[in-house]
């Protein structure tokens, strides 16, 4: 099971992307557990996951996110703006896989 968590301001807009990512992962034959959350929940929500992604609107949070994620061995990065805007689920799943070093 490949666990991805997405974070944005309130977890609203990333939840849109999550639906698209789930569909894309299914199509790609990947068993994935993908959820969105507000950035205030980052501490609790990053336990035991494979990769954490930030919405581009909170990319200034990346340094903080790294402080939380790196001790847990969780890679974290900001979703590319264009893929986020066009809600390109497949590309973001690929981005996550690459980040986790699975591809």
């Amino acid at each position: 099971m490949f666990k991805i968590r997405l974070f944005c301001a309130a977890g609203m807009s990333t939840s849109l992307l999550v639906t698209k990512m789930r569909a894309a992962a299914k199509e790609m034959g990947i068993e994935a557990d993908i959820e969105a959350a507000g950035e205030t929940k980052m501490r609790e929500e990053t336990d035991g996951i494979d990769v954490a992604l930030l919405g581009p609107q909170i990319r200034y949070k990346l340094a903080d996110a790294k402080k939380i994620c790196e001790p847990k061995g969780v890679p974290v990065d900001v979703i590319p703006m264009v893929d986020y805007g066009t809600m390109n689920g497949k590309k973001v799943v690929e981005f996550a896989l690459k980040l986790a070093g699975k591809k």
């Binding site: 944005c8 301001a9 609203m12 807009s13 849109l16 507000g38 205030t40 501490r43 919405g55 581009p56 609107q57 909170i58 990319r59 200034y60 949070k61 990346l62 340094a63 903080d64 703006m81 264009v82 986020y84 805007g85 066009t86 809600m87």
Partner: protein, 443 residues
């Protein structure tokens, strides 16, 4: 495009780290998160009151539709069944905030979160205005009026408890036979005593040299001036301007500014809700002009930048532009609920010189319309009830004022029309550029 890339790189290097610093600053973050976490409570209180007066008041809009007033005699008497909910939500806002501020700050400092939080609640009551002769404690400062003290106490205690508890010398040493859990519970006793004694002595001193003590001093000297600064159309417009500008740089504007905005407008929102709970109308409320009553009500339909108008403008004049049409179709459903990230990053609006102007101008114009209608000419009631930021924007002026005046609904729709008109020429220009580029790519 090369110039925009360069500008973007420059912004990334200068402004983004500044925004990051402000957002990451642990006290700012603690205040912001505290208000974010308490928000469902005020929203719940607000929605219950809205329903209460819409259904259980013979003049409420749902009661009118269903003719409840004629069916049930003394309908209004039943309002008392739900009004106490305010006592558990807005009327204890300061209590919630003092707890949450300390909790979040202690968390950032890797301290004991729950203990810091309950200590902060303790300190809040230690410095609270004393019991009266009947042994009763006044509710005055547990709600909106106590918010500043709550924030200050929450931050000080959230800072002090984790710091003191790290000091080895302040730990009570237990003999070896004592179970670790018991020993642990003694570790924080001295820090707690230190914090409580300082709070109590300070409160005693202030109580003796001034009239009313800490709560009154902070309320009158800090909270009141800060509040008046907020209840001003220029402050609201300035916040809108700053937020839109941050978005253009690709930074979540509302989120970045939320700490200062919550502090500045919290009392007004809570006081307005209490007024509605008592009177059943927003007319005559203590603070008709706040961020929520102007920007959230009139300038935010579709999300920051009032972008529902942008989507409609694309549907109207950019049907031949495949790029914009794809994004607009994708963005329409979330846009109805004021979520517009697909537009922000898809069109994109971020770092886009064409859309920067209408994106900044539209909410300002809509805010001024709202200001004129509710404050200057008072043709519709002030929009002071919180109905949640994901309520379709054009409904907020109507629902957020208790659903009394159909004209409110009309003004909400008017704002969408105005924003559509402002965006239209820019959509046309962007479409022209996109179509030319696509044709070029094909050749």
């Amino acid at each position: 495009m090369a110039m925009m890339d360069k500008m973007q790189a420059a912004m990334e290097a200068t402004l983004v780290p500044v925004a990051a610093k402000i957002n990451g600053q642990r006290h700012v973050a603690a205040v912001r998160d505290a208000f974010t976490l308490a928000f469902p409570m005020t929203l719940a209180g607000s929605l219950v009151m809205l329903v209460n007066y819409a259904v259980l008041d013979p003049n409420g809009f749902i009661a009118k539709i269903l003719h409840l007033g004629a069916l049930i005699p003394n309908l209004a008497d039943y309002q008392a069944a739900l009004t106490p909910i305010l006592q558990g939500t807005t009327n204890i806002m300061a209590l919630l905030i003092v707890f949450l501020c300390a909790y979040k700050l202690a968390e950032a400092k890797n301290g004991d979160t729950l203990l810091s939080a309950i200590c902060a609640v303790g300190v809040f009551f230690i410095i609270y205005p004393p019991y009266d002769e009947n042994g009763a404690l006044s509710m005055t400062f547990m709600g909106a009026q106590g918010l500043f003290v709550a924030i200050i106490v929450g931050l000080l205690v959230g800072e002090a408890i984790p710091a003191l508890s790290k000091n080895e010398k302040l730990r009570i040493k237990m003999p070896d036979g004592v179970p670790p859990a018991v020993a642990q519970s003694f570790n924080l006793v001295i820090p707690i005593i230190i914090v409580f004694v300082i709070a109590s002595v300070l409160s005693f001193v202030f109580g003796n040299i001034t009239d009313g003590g800490v709560q009154y001093i902070i309320y009158n000297m800090i909270q009141v001036p800060f509040r008046s600064l907020g209840s001003n159309i220029f402050t609201v417009l300035l916040f809108a301007l700053a937020q839109q500008f941050l978005w253009i740089l690709g930074i979540h504007g509302p989120n970045t500014l939320s700490a200062i905005r919550s502090v500045m407008f919290a009392e007004q929102g809570v006081a307005n809700l209490a007024y509605y709970g008592e009177m059943g109308t927003t007319i005559g409320c203590p603070f008709p002009l706040t961020w929520a009553s102007i920007n959230d009500a009139f300038g935010n339909t579709g999300g920051s930048g009032a972008t529902l108008g942008l989507i409609i403008a694309i549907f109207l004049v950019a049907r031949k532009d495949k790029t914009q049409m794809t994004i607009a179709k994708l963005a329409f459903a979330p846009g109805l609920f004021n979520i517009n990230e697909p537009l922000m990053f898809g069109l994109p609006i971020v770092m886009n010189p064409i859309y920067a102007i209408p994106f900044i101008a539209t909410p300002l114009v809509c805010n001024i319309i709202g200001y004129l209608c509710t404050i200057v000419f008072q043709i519709i009631p002030p929009v002071t009830l919180d109905v949640g930021w994901t309520t379709p924007g054009f409904l907020i002026p109507f629902l957020g004022s208790g659903g009394h005046n159909p004209l409110s609904l009309l003004i909400g729709v008017l704002c969408v029309c105005v924003s559509t008109l402002i965006y239209m020429p820019f959509v046309r220009a962007a479409a022209k550029a996109n179509i030319a580029r696509e044709a070029e790519a094909e050749n």
